[in-house]
Symmetry: C2
Subunit: 450 residues, 2 copies
Amino acid sequence: MPTLASAITTPDPAALEEWLDDTPDRGERERQLRDLAAPDRARLVAGLDPELADRLLAVIEPRTAANLLTSASPVAAAGLLASLDSDIAADILREIPEPTSASLIGALPPARALVLNGLLSWPPESAAAHMVPEALVISQGQDVESALTQLRLQTAAAPVDSLVAAYVYVVDDERRLLGVVSLQQLVLAAPGTQVADLTETDIIAVEADTDDEVAARTLTDNRLAALPVVDKDRRLLGVITADRAADIVEDENTEDAERQGGSEPLEVPYLQASPVRLWRKRVVWLLVLFIAEAYTGTVLRYFEDELDAVVSLAFFIPLLVGTGGNTGTQITTTLVRAASTGEVRLRDLGKVLPKELSAAVMISATMAAVGLLRAWTLGVGWPVMITVAVSLAAIVLWSAFVASILPLLLTKTKIDPAVVSAPMIATIVDGTGLLIYFMIAKSIIPELSH
Amino acid sequence: MPTLASAITTPDPAALEEWLDDTPDRGERERQLRDLAAPDRARLVAGLDPELADRLLAVIEPRTAANLLTSASPVAAAGLLASLDSDIAADILREIPEPTSASLIGALPPARALVLNGLLSWPPESAAAHMVPEALVISQGQDVESALTQLRLQTAAAPVDSLVAAYVYVVDDERRLLGVVSLQQLVLAAPGTQVADLTETDIIAVEADTDDEVAARTLTDNRLAALPVVDKDRRLLGVITADRAADIVEDENTEDAERQGGSEPLEVPYLQASPVRLWRKRVVWLLVLFIAEAYTGTVLRYFEDELDAVVSLAFFIPLLVGTGGNTGTQITTTLVRAASTGEVRLRDLGKVLPKELSAAVMISATMAAVGLLRAWTLGVGWPVMITVAVSLAAIVLWSAFVASILPLLLTKTKIDPAVVSAPMIATIVDGTGLLIYFMIAKSIIPELSH
């Protein structure tokens, strides 16, 4: 297997292409690019022709591509940018700071610069920011031969990606979307067929300012190769392709995972995040949770006399709050995921709650049984044993109730349900779980009931 | 916006198609299908023509599609199955129990039955199980006109999906993969062009028994519309399409999320999971974690005298172990996600560990400061205040160390790093964190140092 370093030092430019084919794993490519010394990096960029740049820069992190481009001269970098799909070029330009990116765009052919400036002017989280404006369009009322001739003229100057070319859109004189026909149907139709006979006029499209995640899910939910983006008057602005939708969904999944772990999304690839960024993204939630958790100290001090009288009650504190947190975490992660894929919404609460509470009853019975056993092995006596078992059952039920409702409530708000993280649910259950524990202890243990 | 129930009762079959176009959200479609009464469900299936079935059954959960099909007569169901893309039909058939599915396949045209039985014979987690065998192929050494004629003949009988048709594969007499050309290039090339001049001979392909997740990531990592699946002799067996790859990645993401929440993957859509299944998938990990957590009771009993002497030490137990668990969870979720997308591997430990420990030093300083403040507000005196602050710093560092190493170690094994869940890391840190706390207490608090 050739390494990137060896491919660069080979005089044959095909070596780099071979390296790309033999290194289909994106992580591995990033690793080798990252480990490149500065002179090798410059040599890599210098050796790129437009076709190779198109292949390489499209399949690495936009940040890595931006680093590569800025290590070349502005003219050379502009030359490489010119060959990329517009959506990918825009993605890379977003990672390049202002004066440099503007000068790069300035060095592009005017038509191309116009397209890229157009893309960059959309809010980064809108559907339009991710589109390829060069969708294939034909006018209505022709047969397939003349349609193909029209397409040949359109793509002669700039070939488009296979996903962009999967569908051909039928538009009117003002570029309003009338219908869609797959390229395959156009090509494979019997000669003389009218385009109108092949055209599907019910089209799923999104407006330019649609949230990019909604657009991406719309594409994947409907198994499309590309999704048209239109303006308020239904004029075709471009298409989002399936590969881009996969990127958007993956980024959303990464953000959800980070939120679920109780931190703010890093917003950059992990290995490119500095320790200060890690600290900044994590410490906010740690402090919020610390303050919330500090309440457990107040609860415990309130029950100081009980703890003093029956010190063995303290043995079970981590076990009880831990089990409560675990039960709650299991439920929230499942529900947050189901909410994120659009499977559950607040209106499903009537189905979710009975299901979760039924499961929780079974789980609480199981945990009460093993809790009894564990208390017995610690030799704490019957009153504490029963307190532990009953508390476990009660905490599991309480935790299930909170964990079932919280993420679903957030689906109705602007807040991402993924903020209901494992640490958050554990924190909520910790304080309330201790309250439950000591209240049960006071009503069961003779020394404490006064 | 039309509802499914109203679309079914409308005599016009176009009403259902309109419903599909106006309900692009998969979750909403599932919800309306689920709420359908049995007679309406039967009426829906009866009203499906092959084209509509192709549209509807491809964009709903395979389980839901299986339920719809089994509510029709076997002959009608086979008729609907015949019109679906092979990979989707196989996916639905996997959800139908044995005797019924075999009789459905038996009612299909023999060629189609052969294809589907072929797909079903692959292990469900192999690349080949997810492929569409009807890839477009042409023979070498011809010009684009004759290639297109060959393709027209191939697709006349069975049209293929746009994603399948994005690429045309050049094969030899034994169907060995020689190269690939995009349909777009074939169509838009100047007349008389030789196919060989357009063919790319370096092709990324996967073998039939490749893990489906690896195949899906290979497709998305390289921004492909479809990925060829070959046998040991590099004969083309079929292609995996981008929409299917997105399904596989999403299923993997759901499994990872469930594992990260400390349960076994549900393996069915959440709303289709029974309470008993929820209990079964969750209780295993709860018991494992309970047993591991039970160790905290042993630690606390061991320090019973210290707790008795300075009962205020107990106030901080949930806060300390909670913060340790939170810090660890933040790190593991980030690393598990980065491992899942292929961004980090064990060999990156040399980069990950210094980064995480640097961040942890900043976090431990922050948490020690707020810990000191919190202990002061509880009025526990200087020795306990200092114990709490020092313990917080130590536990944060310890937790960061464990959480950085554990997921990366698992990338070298067959175990999914996602099993390093929030509950697991919390459990590991709970017991060890208490040990750290009491050891620090004994060395700092005068009453305990004997």
